[in-house]
Each structure stands twice: as structure tokens, then as C-alpha cells.
Amino acid sequence: MSASLDTGLTRGDYPLSVNRPELLRTPTGKPITALTMDAVVSGELSAEDLRIAPETLELQAQLADASNRPQLAMNFRRAAEMCAIPDAEVLGMYNALRPRASTAAGLAALADRLETTWSAPVCAGLVREAAEVYARRDLLARAGAEDGEDTP
């Protein structure tokens, strides 16, 4: 999420589910207070309603920053970018980052896809950084071997 929400959250706002429920919405736009048993029984809710929204991950990132945990905040910001990516594709991306699973070109394409298709520049940065280190440490797949053996 590049669009940062200027909520001025402090540690006192945690837990958001107790202290700031009005800030919490599902990816489908429902307020968290709409996630009731009645709504479950009447079939109004789908599994999609029980997922976290990228805006919420940004709020949690602000709380992590306010708690002096910059790495945790960065993890939440990468996560916010990943919310929209389908489960199977997320798993595919993870597998592509395993040692010698991808060529340099493969990782470059993955980074581009993250950046352009999914508007995920922070995740793309992580993949580009991996590509640079993998090249230096001989952890890239040989060209043409991309779909073949994936482990050494």
C-alpha cells in the first residue's frame, strides 16, 4: 500500500478489534461488526469476508512502527501488497524463490509482475534483491532448467 492512511495510531489504540473497531473493514468492504453469527447463518458471509484487508495491514504496520519494530512493519507492508494475489499464485511465487528454482530472467519477470500487475513494489524489491544475491551465491537455475529439477 503506497497510499498511507494518516490515522496517527499509537500503541494505545491496540488491540484495534477492541479499541478502534470502526477502522476495521473486510476486503469486501463490510465493517468488522458485520461479522456476526446471524450473518454466517443467513449465508451473507463468504470466506472472502474473513480475510484481512490491505488497509488493516497498513494500520498494523503503523502500530509496529510505533512499537519500534521496523522489520515487522515492513513485513506487514509486503503482506498488504500480497492481499490481492490469489493463494495459488502466492505459493507459486514462494516456490520460485527457493534455491536454484528460477533463472535470473525468471526472477526479473517475477519482480516485474509484482510491480506492474499487483502494484507490489516492496515485494518486487525483495525479489530483485534475492536475484542479486542468488547470482552471487550460485543459487540461480541454469537457463532452460526452470521447469525441471527444482532442488540441488
Binding site: P15, S17, A47, I52, R78, L139
Partner: protein, 570 residues
């Protein structure tokens, strides 16, 4: 030949006392001499690097004697993601003795210590820990544990992968106080049924208990994404590049996976531990603790909120060398002084000696950790599919007594049998109703009856394994989610259990459980290092076992009444 009966020449006569000692269980344990060149050494090795750090243009260019061009991927990841570059040179310039003193000095707050430790290199952290004896390590843990209130975690598994057993034992475990419950399988294809059973049982025992199913990374993530499990933990990392690669991962793949979990609102921690690198055959000649410190910093750099460490499944390795359990206590402290949640081991059988098993957990139980055990076996050890834990159901009363003896909170409590039987029966009946609703293989009334009174998997009727495996596959094929479980429980009349599970699922929308050391209290309040920060500042401060909780822990199975010595306190 001589006229007298010769004594077998190669067997000198032993004293009767030696015979007694030889027969002691501790002598069935394995002990081995140190071999530092191969990394078979706990924390004092001449082959570990000396600390150093150099920063140029806002970037670490030298780390523990290595120049940037020679960094392996652990060095690179730690230098670029874990260490606070702004304070690195200053923090590493402090004498190690001064940092060690800060760890035990109550006048230095947890935040004061973190201001220094976030800039330290792995070798510098090791240098600090090498100055500390085990009591000092415990003092450090008392202050550095992230969450003020300690907790405990259990394994709930079955040698037959019987979901009915898992549900009943999960309910009992939750009722006894475990904040997290973890399962795994003998036959992996059973996972969906057993994970559902664990979730149902947990929410019967005590609403808000978090559950997980340890599987390979992709399946574990899928069950989490579906809301069948609530958190994940078996995301292994290693301290050398070569072993990390053998595990088919890199720090970047694991960091990506950490974000994948957070993107689905799922709590997650990594797992590492002393001894794993030497056990996997490539410690690169470094001590176990040095390599574990690299893991801890890698985890911090990935932005994961916590770590399960304390040797874990490799405990036999540090357990076999001199000072090994001191190193294990030290690695827990390092996780905490890197501001990570620490689920502190005590989760694998490692000794035949009851005395040694108990001693092993003292450095975690006495100061308190975020989770004293990262797997106390809430089933008999024969049913423990994590290859046995350091403690199991037979030890419940001993554990409760030790808590009472020392007035320490190890997360458990004594529960009266009538309450336990009710919870076990209800868990089995809830699972019975849910399986019927989801058209999964039936749970019979005989199984419910057995679950209520059982001790181990041997006390249950056999299930039709083939039918169960088909049912498990159907859970995956039909895309059953946590929401379906809520609906099933609600429609079958288990309203409170359904409500508990829905509340747990709702938490992932809020993301509150993603923060460091988060658990859910019995009233479903997220409790983490943010709203329950460890404020230890010396005697009389920090978490104290007192009030209602202490009254609860004074109860045991048999306590004689002071007013009527003929009766027992209930």
C-alpha cells in the same frame, strides 16, 4: 589352566554402588566429547569469529571479520535487514560485559536493552552471552520476554491420527490452560480432519485458544488460508547457508513466506534451534549458539513476529555436549533480546532421566517465557507424533505442583475431573455433529463415550481409515473453510463453540494477532507485547503470580483442608 577359577580378565570387579549408578536412567542418555572443528560444541569455540562491524554510506560493509564481497547469504540478509545500521558501530563498541550487565540490571529497562541489542552483530551477541551463567541468563529472560504474562503451548496428536481423540485431548488441554495447541500427523493425508478436530476441541475447552497443524510449508499455509487453523510455526530456518539450501529455502524465500501468512491475517513464527546445523551435517565449524544467533537475527530481519527455538527437535545434540543446556537457555534469551516472541522448546524427549527432564525446563519456567513449552504433550507420549515431548499428560500433576512450590506461572492449572469429562464429552459430540453436517465419516456414540474417559489412542474404537482419508480429501476438494465449521457447529446446536470459533476467525480481519507475542485471552482480548509489554524493573515489579491466578494455582488434586484435616480442598 590353573586350579582356581579365573576372574574374566577384561572385567574388573565393580562396586555394588557402581552397579546402582549404572542402572540409573541418566546413563541411557548419550553424551559426547566436544569437537569444535565440526561444530559439535555448545557456545565456546575458538573457531567462532570475533565481533566486528563497519558501516560505509549507510550500509554494513564488514560483519564479524568478513568483508561484504565475502558475505554468504546469511551475512548479507542479517547486515541488510536485521541489524540497525544507525546504531551498529556504537552498540558494538560497547564492552560486552557492559551489555551483559544491562541484561541483568533491573535499572536498565527492556527498552534500554533493546536500544543496544538491535545494533549488535551475531558474534557480538555471542560474546555477551558467553559472559553469562545460567542464573544470569534467567534474570535476563525475566526482563526481556516480550509479553508480560507467560503462557504455554501443547501438542495434541494421535498415534492413529484419530480426530476424535485429538478433539477430546485438545479440549482438555485448552481447559487446563494452554494458549496454543499444535497437531501433526502420522499419515499426512489425515491432516484436514485432524486439524478440524483440533480447532473444535480447542474452542470447546476454552474459547480463543489458537491452533495449528504442522505440515510442509505449502499445505500448512493452505489450511491456514482456509481458516481451519489459526497460526503457523513450522517454518524452519538454519544458521549456515549450506544447510539453509539443503532445506530448500533461502532467507528471501522465507521472508516472502512470512509476508504471505500475514497477508492472510495468520499469526506465524519461524522455527530454529541449536544443533540443527551439526545434525544436518554442515555447521561450517561454528558453535551451535553462534549459528542459532544467526538464525534469530535472520528471523528478525524477515520481520516475523516470533521464533520457536530452544533446540526443538535437535535437543539431543546440545543435550549431549558440555554446557549444552546453558546454550539452549541462552538462545531463548537471544530471541527475546531481539524483541521476538519466544516459544521456548521443552518440546522433545531428550533424556531418560526424570530429574534431567525437569532441570532442562527450569531456565524457561522460572523466569517465564512467551510459551514455556512449544509443545508440552497434551497426549501420552506414545501418541505424540512429534516424536515425544519432554513432558506429557502423565506429568500434569507434577507440573502443577512445581508451579505451586515455586509460585511461578507455567501456564497450566489443576482442573477437576468432572469439568474435564464434560469438556471431553462435549468436544467429541461437537465433532460428531460437525462431521454429520459436513457429510464426513461418522463419529459413533461409542467413540464419544470412549473419548470422554480415554487416556490414549488405544482406548478408542478403531476408525475406518480409508473412509477417513476419503473424507479428508473431500474437505480439500470441496473447499471447506473455517466458516463452514462455524455454520455446522451452529446448526447442530453447539452455539457457544461456533461463536468461539467465529470470534477467532474474526480476529484475522483485525490483524491484532499478527503483533509480537499475541495470544487471545478467555474474553477474546488480544494480548501482545504492545498492550501487555514486559515491564519488569526489579523485585516487586513485572509479572507476579498473585491474586485470583495464584489462588487457582494453589489447587492440586489432593490438598488437605486446614480446618478439617480429614477432608481435601476442592
Amino acid at each position: 589352566m590353573t586350579a582356581t577359577q579365573p576372574r574374566p580378565s577384561d572385567q574388573p570387579r565393580h562396586s555394588l554402588r557402581t552397579d546402582v549408578l549404572e542402572a540409573r536412567p541418566v546413563n541411557l542418555d548419550g553424551f559426547v566429547e566436544e569437537w569444535p572443528e565440526k561444530g559439535l560444541v555448545a557456545m565456546e569455540s575458538a573457531f567462532d569469529p570475533a565481533p566486528s562491524v563497519r558501516v560505509e554510506d549507510g550500509r554494513i560493509v564488514e560483519l564479524d571479520g568478513r568483508q561484504r564481497a565475502d558475505f554468504d547469504f546469511m551475512d548479507t540478509f542479517i547486515a541488510d535487514h536485521a541489524i540497525d545500521v544507525a546504531s551498529a558501530e556504537e552498540s558494538n563498541a560497547l564492552p560486552s560485559a557492559e551489555i551483559a550487565r544491562m541484561l541483568i540490571d533491573p535499572r536498565a529497562s527492556r527498552d534500554d536493552v533493546l536500544a543496544v541489542t538491535r545494533g549488535l552483530t551475531p558474534a557480538k551477541v555471542l560474546d555477551v552471552l558467553k559472559l553469562m551463567n545460567v542464573v544470569e541468563i534467567m534474570q535476563g529472560m525475566q526482563k526481556m520476554r516480550a509479553r508480560r504474562t507467560p503462557a504455554n503451548q501443547a501438542h495434541s496428536t494421535s498415534a492413529r491420527d484419530n480426530p476424535v481423540q485429538v478433539a477430546a485431548d485438545a479440549a482438555e488441554g485448552a481447559l487446563r490452560g494452554f494458549a496454543e495447541l499444535e497437531t501433526t500427523l502420522g499419515v499426512l493425508r489425515y491432516a484436514p480432519l485432524v486439524a478440524i478436530a483440533l480447532q473444535v476441541g480447542a474452542q470447546v475447552g476454552r474459547g480463543g485458544v489458537l491452533t495449528q497443524c504442522a505440515l510442509e510449508e505449502a499445505t500448512e499455509l493452505e489450511l491456514g488460508m482456509r481458516g481451519i487453523t489459526a497460526y503457523a510455526e513450522t517454518i524452519s530456518i538454519y544458521g549456515t547457508e549450506s544447510v539453509f539450501i539443503d532445506g530448500d529455502d533461502t532467507p528471501w524465500s522465507k521472508a516472502f513466506l512470512a509476508s504471505a501468512y500475514a497477508s492472510r491475517g495468520i499469526k506465524m513464527r519461524f522455527t530454529s534451534g541449536t544443533g540443527s546445523e551439526v545434525q544436518m551435517g554442515n555447521a561450517e565449524g561454528k558453535s551451535m549458539l553462534y549459528l542459532e544467533i544467526r538464525c534469530i537475527l535472520m528471523a528478525k530481519g524477515a520481520g516475523v513476529q516470533g521464533l520457536q527455538n530452544g533446540s526443538i527437535s535437535c535437543i539431543g545434540v546440545p543435550g549431549a555436549v558440555p554446557g549444552g543446556l546453558r546454550a539452549v537457555a541462552a538462545e531463548n534469551l537471544v530471541a527475546s533480546m531481539m524483541d521476538l516472541e519466544c516459544a521456548s522448546g521443552n518440546d522433545q524427549s531428550f533424556s531418560h532421566s526424570a530429574m534431567r527432564r525437569t532441570a532442562r525446563m527450569m531456565p524457561q519456567l522460572l523466569p517465564g517465557t512467551d510459551f514455556v513449552c512449544s509443545g508440552y504433550s497434551a497426549v501420552p507420549n506414545a501418541d505424540n507424533m512429534f516424536a515425544g515431548s519432554n513432558f506429557d499428560t502423565e506429568d500434569y500433576d507434577d507440573w502443577n505442583t512445581i508451579q505451586r512450590d515455586f509460585q511461578v506461572d507455567g501456564g497450566l492449572r489443576h482442573v477437576r475431573e468432572d469439568e474435564i469429562l464434560l469438556a471431553r464429552s462435549k468436544a467429541a459430540r461437537a465433532l460428531q455433529a460437525l462431521f454429520a453436517y459436513l457429510d464426513l465419516p461418522a463419529v459413533t456414540d461409542d467413540e464419544v463415550e470412549a473419548a470422554t474417559y480415554a487416556n490414549s489412542s488405544a482406548d478408542y474404537p478403531f476408525r475406518d481409515v480409508l473412509a477417513d482419508l476419503k473424507g479428508a480429501q473431500a474437505v480439500m476438494d470441496r473447499g471447506i473453510t473455517g466458516l463452514d465449521i462455524v455454520k455446522g457447529l451452529e446448526s447442530a446446536g453447539f452455539h457457544d463453540v461456533a461463536e468461539n470459533l467465529l470470534t477467532v476467525l474474526r480476529q484475522r480481519v483485525s490483524g491484532d494477532l499478527l503483533q509480537t507475542s499475541a495470544v487471545l485471552t478467555a474474553d477474546f482480548t488480544p494480548l501482545s507485547a504492545i498492550n501487555d509489554p514486559n515491564d519488569y524493573a526489579g523485585p516487586g515489579t513485572g509479572y507476579r503470580l498473585e491474586g485470583e491466578r495464584w489462588a487457582e494455582l494453589k489447587k492440586l488434586r489432593h490438598v488437605t483442608s486446614a480446618t478439617d484435616p480429614e477432608s481435601e480442598v476442592r
